[in-house]
């Protein structure tokens, strides 16, 4: 069995790589991922939980963590037949025009994502989009629901810093531009708002 080595890779790369491998794996077979921090381990566990995949991990002598995920019907690509969906949200409104209207539209859109049969694989929040993932946002429960279904929620660290929201992240993890570009590049389908 191949071990996916993501040592030194920022969020959400470990989860993206693991999901990619799981899609190619038959139900019941295992995927192993080597990570160097506990946050990545936790993110992998959340993702596995959302897909209904059994999860185990083992701390190694050098501090790295070897994660083992067993593929389930929902995680294997042949089961769902759908391509991975990435939703990129670069503002806290939807569409151009009136911001009050745009504000309520984006919230309605995020709720609608919770009702999709196959939730997005990844949601990327940047620029004023990070106002949706931080304290004071009233879409946090909907985003947490998506997270519980296996969606990776990632907010741009530069943007959190710019808006002074770094300490106020309320859902998901912090990512950087390399990981954002990589998630977009690897997407089967990309919705860019």
């Amino acid at each position: 069995m191949e071990i996916i080595n993501v040592l030194g890779k920022p969020c959400p790369i470990p989860v993206i790589e693991a999901k990619k491998a799981l899609r190619k794996t038959q139900a019941g077979e295992k995927v192993q991922v080597l990570v160097d921090n506990d946050i990545s381990r936790q993110n992998l566990e959340k993702m596995a939980g959302g897909l209904g995949c059994p999860f185990a991990f083992e701390k190694q002598g050098d501090g790295n963590i070897l994660v083992t995920i067993t593929a389930a019907a929902a995680s294997s690509g042949s089961g769902s037949g759908s391509q991975s969906l990435v939703v990129a949200i670069g503002q806290n409104t939807m569409g151009a025009g009136n911001d009050d209207l745009g504000g309520i539209l984006i919230k309605g859109f995020i709720y609608s994502l919770t009702e999709l049969d196959t939730p997005p694989e990844t949601m990327l929040f940047f620029n004023s989009g990070v106002k949706l993932t931080t304290e004071g946002s009233n879409v946090i429960p909907d985003l947490k629901k998506l997270e519980s279904k296996g969606t990776i929620i990632s907010s741009c660290g530069t943007c959190l810093d710019f808006y002074q929201l770094k300490e106020k992240l309320a859902v998901g993890n912090v990512t950087n531009m390399y990981a954002i570009a990589s998630a977009m590049g690897d997407a089967g389908k990309l919705i860019n708002l």
Binding site: D100, L101, G103, I104, L105, K107, G108, Y111, S112, E115, N138, V139, P141, D142, K145
Partner: protein
């Protein structure tokens, strides 16, 4: 507030939904948004979701702008019926 419990408020138009959300947020009442589900209305409006525990305060604040209050029904939670007080 779990999905099963929440109450869904419908409005006469989108302006009133937007104003309603703002009023509730300004009053510190937890509120979330959802597009109007088909069983509730034919329009492409927006609904607000609130906790049953807040409904009296919500009704006081939003009064006549509320066109209807609904709750989830059925096993999938995708059916909606008028709120049964």
């Amino acid at each position: 507030m779990s999905d099963e419990e929440e109450l869904i408020l419908a409005f006469h138009n989108t302006h009133e939904a937007i104003m309603g959300e703002r009023k509730l947020l300004d009053s510190g009442i937890p509120v979330m948004v959802m597009p109007m589900p088909k069983p509730i209305g034919p329009t492409c409006g927006m609904c607000l979701r609130v906790s049953p525990g807040d409904i009296e305060k919500v009704q006081e604040l939003l009064g006549e702008t509320i066109a209807g209050i609904f709750q989830r029904a059925g096993e999938t939670g995708k059916d909606f019926v008028p709120w049964d007080t």
